[in-house]
Symmetry: C2
Subunit: 342 residues, 2 copies
């Protein structure tokens, strides 16, 4: 005997809070409170509402909630890559830090592209995120403009900001690059090459660290540098080690800006009969799992990416809650992993 549905209804057909309230015999907003702030409702009504929720299979409508409360419960995360294990570890840290809260995490893969970053951020802004997690310190003018005009709390990940206003969690890419180079110098190498790929801001900082160390030791030579924009892969490392040996035949050691390149370089040396580290020392960056297991095992820089994600998300959550953070720059450091390859 149900009444005929008005033909022109715009209702979604889903169970609404109003239906729950009716079932429980309370006002809509009592039902709302019973769900979002259970402590403010008497036990009797609370259980009645909870039962109605269960019976009806009520699922809150996030869009309606966001619209009414002006709180999206969305956190947008922008990373330059998902195929790079570094950033998936960062995401795992973020996920763990935010696990208890009811946040919707929007994961955006910018693919190292400013245009893609702008596009994704533009879409994410439509969701009025409560907070944003960014990779890197530098961004396009449009991105910066979207960010500042929105007034949303932001935390930058991966590197240390020089501007104290900019909250950042990471470690000094420059210092890490410098430290690895100094390690190689300390091992007695003079002709130390650097292979950089992708040329994102972190690679460039590592390269600067390399140059600083080389200059300080009076060893700098542009012929020892190879910088290419291609994404870093094993295949590229295999290719570039050959190029390095052509352009600097007396090269004794190569600092690869990340482990993928180093692995490729080592595999290629094995094929070409070039002893590593005997004839050529090779090291990488980031300490990917394979680095500890390869033969030779790979000397590299261990980086706290999971921790970066975790701490950045924790800091962001505090900001969203309106807390004044004690520290605005969290330096998680890095670890030089001395192994067999260099």
């Amino acid at each position: 005997m149900s009444r005929i549905q008005p033909a022109k209804s715009r209702a979604s057909g889903k169970v609404t809070l109003a239906a729950v309230a009716e079932r429980a015999g309370v006002a809509t907003m009592t039902a709302s409170r019973a769900i979002t702030q259970p402590d403010m409702v008497s036990e009797t009504l609370r259980t009645r509402v909870q039962q109605a929720v269960a019976e009806l299979g009520y699922v809150p409508n996030r869009a309606a909630r966001a619209l009414a409360s002006a709180q999206s419960k969305v956190i947008a995360v922008l990373v330059p890559s998902l195929s790079n294990a570094v950033f998936t570890a960062v995401l795992a840290g973020i996920q763990d830090a935010l696990d208890a809260d009811d946040y919707q995490i929007l994961i955006g893969n910018t693919r190292y592209s400013d245009a893609e970053e702008e596009k994704l951020l533009g879409i994410y802004m439509q969701s009025n995120p409560d907070g944003i997690l960014l990779s890197g310190l530098t961004h396009s003018a449009r991105v910066q403009q979207m960010l500042t005009s929105s007034q949303v709390p932001i935390v930058s990940m991966m590197d240390m900001a020089t501007n104290p206003e900019q909250l950042s969690v990471g470690f000094s890419q420059f210092q890490a690059g410098q430290a690895m180079t100094q390690y190689l110098i300390g091992k007695g190498h003079r002709r130390i090459g650097f292979i950089g790929a992708q040329l994102d801001e972190r690679t460039l900082k590592r390269a600067e660290g390399y140059r600083a160390a080389m200059q300080q030791a009076g060893l700098a030579d542009p012929a020892l540098e190879i910088m290419v924009e291609d994404p870093s892969t094993i295949a590229l490392g295999a290719e570039l080690v050959g190029r390095m040996l052509e352009q600097a035949p007396d090269c004794q050691a190569i600092f690869c800006c990340n482990d993928d390149l180093a692995h490729g370089a080592i595999f290629q040396c094995q094929r070409s009969g070039i002893a590593v580290p005997g004839r050529l020392a090779i090291c990488g960056f980031n300490d990917l799992p394979a680095s500890a297991w390869m033969n030779p095992s790979v000397t590299t820089v261990g980086t706290p990416r999971y921790q970066i994600g975790f701490e950045a998300a924790t800091l962001l959550r505090a900001l969203i809650k309106g807390e004044q953070p004690e520290v605005t720059q969290i330096d998680l450091g890095f670890t030089l992993m001395e192994r067999e390859s260099a």
Copy 2:
């Protein structure tokens, strides 16, 4: 001379469509149309609205749009892992397929956990997704219940469904496992071990394929199987190759359920002086980049993960548009990559 803001306003302070409309001197809904369906508005008004949008820096409110239109423009994607390169490739395919559309892609990492999958899906359901992309064919009862009661279009990725109602894009994990085993048998091996980790449904299907091939050849022996629930890693592969050789010293070949394990097994053999493939043939699954470059290079199964993501997203988009798909099961196949290690 602006009027004093009412103290109790709930307005977000952001630029609204109404503000844009006022600026352009049109009705709100004309402004709305000028933005979402520009063709239905005269050129004069359209440009006036567009200019107002630019001047005011208007950003549409997605929550309001979703609420009013009953279209979330959200697609939820659930994958079991982000650290596994297979799934990041799937995600890349999805991203590319949906690039032109204005979808918000919700990426959820279930970490191979049913509980996590339920939790994420529960949260995503609050956003009323227009479509859902799932990994795998089997899901917990609660997940299935959420899915069926929601009536949302769903496409399953990675394996082929037997139920024709279930749309799926992938390849037969069973057949792939069987094919690799038959390849090893064809190479003359009799004592062929299988190492499975994680024990997700895909690994189990590959193991079934292995068993089927072994039984068919009259070579089946439970002592040749190692199945562990730990996540598959290089370290685990290194450990398990030793265990296999203990429990089946006459083992001639090992089929690892994925490349990480195979890499670890090979590295460990190198350290232990076990010749690969001379003394022990080792093969993997998925053809990760390192497999082509290692020494020995790794025999494995190439899988079309990028394509899976792309095709699944394309199919889902058609479903969302209300199209009746011609094929409901898209088998993208697999490729046996014969290399040096087996």
